[in-house]
């Protein structure tokens, strides 16, 4: 929970042992109380755990029944009503800002919105298959996004027929190529480069569908289609599961053996977690792997203070960011936490997911996603 929403301090609205219905508020952001997080299922609240600095770590609901909260759908799509609906339903956190990768302020407006309807992560679900039965809801959701911005709404989809009709505001863009071609960061860099004065919001296609469904039925749709794959699972498959589902329970019967590691997210950039992350649309089961190989004699000889090996600036690294940003200087600035240089080199256009391939391609000695988050925090609060 905590790592999904950097910068959010939770104010709890429920307590352990209470019952909740799907769509009912669970907690809200202390600084921006309009942003609420709602229950993905109805049931009883099993556990609430707070971590360091009173950040919410885990909130577990055991599902029971299928009661749903009904939301009033405004008759006309006027701006404030649309905002209120998205905020109340708990779908607001599906929007993320660039720069900084945070949940946007309820009162702010972006210069553009990017809908990511393409996924090039390894083993990701094909958005066309997922959206096949939900095209109408997706179109409705996209139309609603127009009320959030004065600027364009880009819908980035895989090559082929467009998913929604274009109009004055909606623009469809077909993207093709290997990862990272499908990342919102890549699309935004090419189509609408951001700066602090020119913020952009991004949203995933399944959340757009959820907004569409909300308009249609007045109920919160919290199921998302995820791809479950990886060498630790017998047969990869697509599943429809509620947000934040228990991945251990989900995969328990399908594992090849017990020496596995369940990741929320793709094999690159995913994190080991029992629950599905807010911004993850797949789960990967890996064989449990040993920590990076460093012989014992090396550590002994160095008196247990062996330094990490540096990255080698080969030309192969240029492909890890599908942008025109200078990759090697940027990675160097991030690895030493040089926020000023990193900002000059364009790190404001990026968020954690964009760095996953860089972490992979340099052998994983350091997590550039984490480094980027630290640098972005410094830049935002400076």
């Amino acid at each position: 929970m905590g790592s999904d929403s950097p910068g959010v301090r939770a104010e709890l609205l429920v307590a352990e042992g209470e019952n909740c219905v799907r769509g009912a508020p669970l907690f809200r952001d202390r600084k921006r109380p309009d942003i609420v997080f709602t229950a993905p299922v109805s049931g009883r609240i099993e556990e609430v755990r707070l971590g360091a600095k009173r950040r919410l770590e885990v909130l577990v609901i055991s599902g029971a029944g299928d009661d749903r909260k009904r939301f009033d759908i405004p008759a006309d799509a006027d701006r404030t009503a649309v905002r209120r609906l998205i905020l109340e339903s708990g779908l607001w956190p599906s929007l993320r800002t660039r720069p900084f990768g945070r949940i946007p302020d309820p009162g702010s407006a972006p210069e553009a919105i990017f809908v990511t309807a393409v996924d090039t992560n390894p083993h990701a679900a094909d958005p066309r298959i997922v959206l096949a039965s939900q095209r109408e809801a997706f179109g409705r959701g996209t139309a609603l996004l127009k009320a959030l911005t004065e600027g364009p709404v880009f819908v980035c989809h895989a090559p082929g027929e467009a998913l929604v009709a274009e109009d004055a505001q909606i623009r469809c863009v077909a993207v093709a190529g290997p990862h990272p071609a499908g990342l919102a960061g890549t699309h935004i860099h090419r189509l609408f480069p951001v700066s602090v004065k020119r913020p952009v919001w991004q949203i995933h296609y399944s959340d757009v569908t959820a907004i569409g469904r909300l308009l249609e039925t007045g109920e919160l749709q919290t199921e998302r289609t995820i791809a479950v794959s990886g060498p630790g699972i017998k047969a990869p498959h697509l599943m429809r599961v509620p947000m934040g589902t228990d991945l251990h329970e989900l995969t328990a019967d399908a594992l090849v053996d017990s020496e596995t590691q369940v990741l929320s997210g793709p094999a690159i950039g995913g994190r080991e977690s029992r629950f599905l992350g807010r911004y993850h649309w797949q789960a990967t089961v890996l064989k449990r792997q040993a920590p990076p190989f460093r012989p014992t004699w090396l550590r002994r000889l160095s008196g247990n203070r062996l330094l990490p090996a540096p990255i080698i600036p080969t030309e192969a690294l240029e492909k890890v960011l599908a942008t025109e940003l200078p990759v090697v200087p940027l990675l160097r600035a991030l690895s030493i936490g040089d926020a000023e240089s990193a900002a000059r080199l364009g790190c404001l256009e990026l968020i954690e997911e964009d760095m996953a391939l860089a972490t992979y391609a340099t052998g994983g000695a350091q997590d550039f996603g984490e480094r980027l988050r630290a640098v972005l925090d410094t830049l935002e609060y400076a």
Binding site: P193, S195, K197, R198, L263, A267, I268, G269, G270, R271, E272, L286, Q289, P292, R294, L298, L301, S302, G303, R305, L306, L307, A309, P310, I311, I312, P313, T314, E315, A316, L317, E318, E324, P326, V328, P329, R344, L345, G346, A356, T359, Y360, A361, T362, G363, G364, A365
Partner: protein, 261 residues
């Protein structure tokens, strides 16, 4: 989360692997004496890597083997063992290890070693390497370019500018392909990923600069095939690499800012 295999040591071992044909060519061309020099090089570099591991916790790197072979290829003259050991110590420690080891250095360790040898003991004559080493280095280049370790931009830039400038001086450029020192130096020294530029436009400029300098030194100095030519061209080119990168980044930043204030 899965980790890729391309960490520093994988790249170092790839370089060592690419060196094997060169090593075979070297042993065929020069016999056991060259092999002995490689062993001395490995011993001296290994010693200093161990010292820096114990004293500063710097992990050792297989890339030291590249230095050992490069010195054996490019300094074949009548060098005494103490001279070789002194030069290797200087090159490895001052060129590489004091900066934090391979990957953090500004200059290539072999280039520093060789420059030290050429400057410190100018009376020793060094014959150019033969065509077999040129052929082997060409094979290595294919492998290294295919894996993205050696930049094709830097290599192409260096070769094109070298040929163009040398031809304009009226040199016989067809023979360059058989000059072992020149081809080996271009692939393993000039295109060392660490000591060359680290941005794509910068790689073109760096390659061009190094190739141009090699042509200039070859024409004005010891001849195009001489080992000194490519070593000094790389030394100067590497010194300019950070400046080239800085300029490329400054231009890129300005261009990105212009369209949206």
């Amino acid at each position: 989360m899965i980790r890729g295999i391309w960490n520093r040591e994988t790249i170092a071992w790839m370089l060592v692997g690419a060196l094997l044909p060169v090593l075979a060519a070297l042993l065929t061309e020069r016999g056991t004496e060259a092999g002995l020099r490689v062993l001395i090089g490995l011993a001296v570099i290994g010693f200093w890597q161990l010292v820096f591991l114990i004293a500063r916790g710097q992990p050792p790197s297989a890339a030291g083997a590249v230095t050992a072979v490069a010195v054996a290829v490019l300094a074949p003259g009548e060098v005494a063992v103490w001279q070789l050991a002194l030069a290797l110590s200087f090159g490895t420690v001052i060129g590489e290890l004091v900066f934090g080891g391979w990957g953090r250095n500004v200059l290539n360790g072999a280039v520093v070693t060789l420059a030290f040898l050429y400057f410190g003991f100018p009376e020793i004559q060094h014959a150019p390497a033969g065509s077999m080493i040129a052929l082997a280095s060409g094979l290595s280049a294919i492998l290294l370019v295919a894996t993205g370790i050696v930049s094709w931009r830097a290599l192409t830039g260096a070769v094109l500018v070298l040929l163009a400038v040398a031809a304009s001086f009226g040199a016989e450029i067809a023979g360059f392909a058989f000059g072992g020192s020149l081809v080996f130096g271009l692939v393993f020294l000039a295109c060392d990923p660490v000591a060359s530029a680290a941005t794509n436009p910068g790689r073109w400029v760096y390659g061009g600069l190094t190739g141009g300098l090699a042509a200039l030194f070859g024409w004005a100095g010891d001849g195009f095939g001489a080992p000194q030519t490519i070593v000094f061209a790389t030394l100067l080119g590497s010194l300019f690499a950070p400046l080239i990168d800085h300029a490329v980044i400054a231009i890129g930043t300005r261009q990105r800012r212009r369209p949206h204030g």
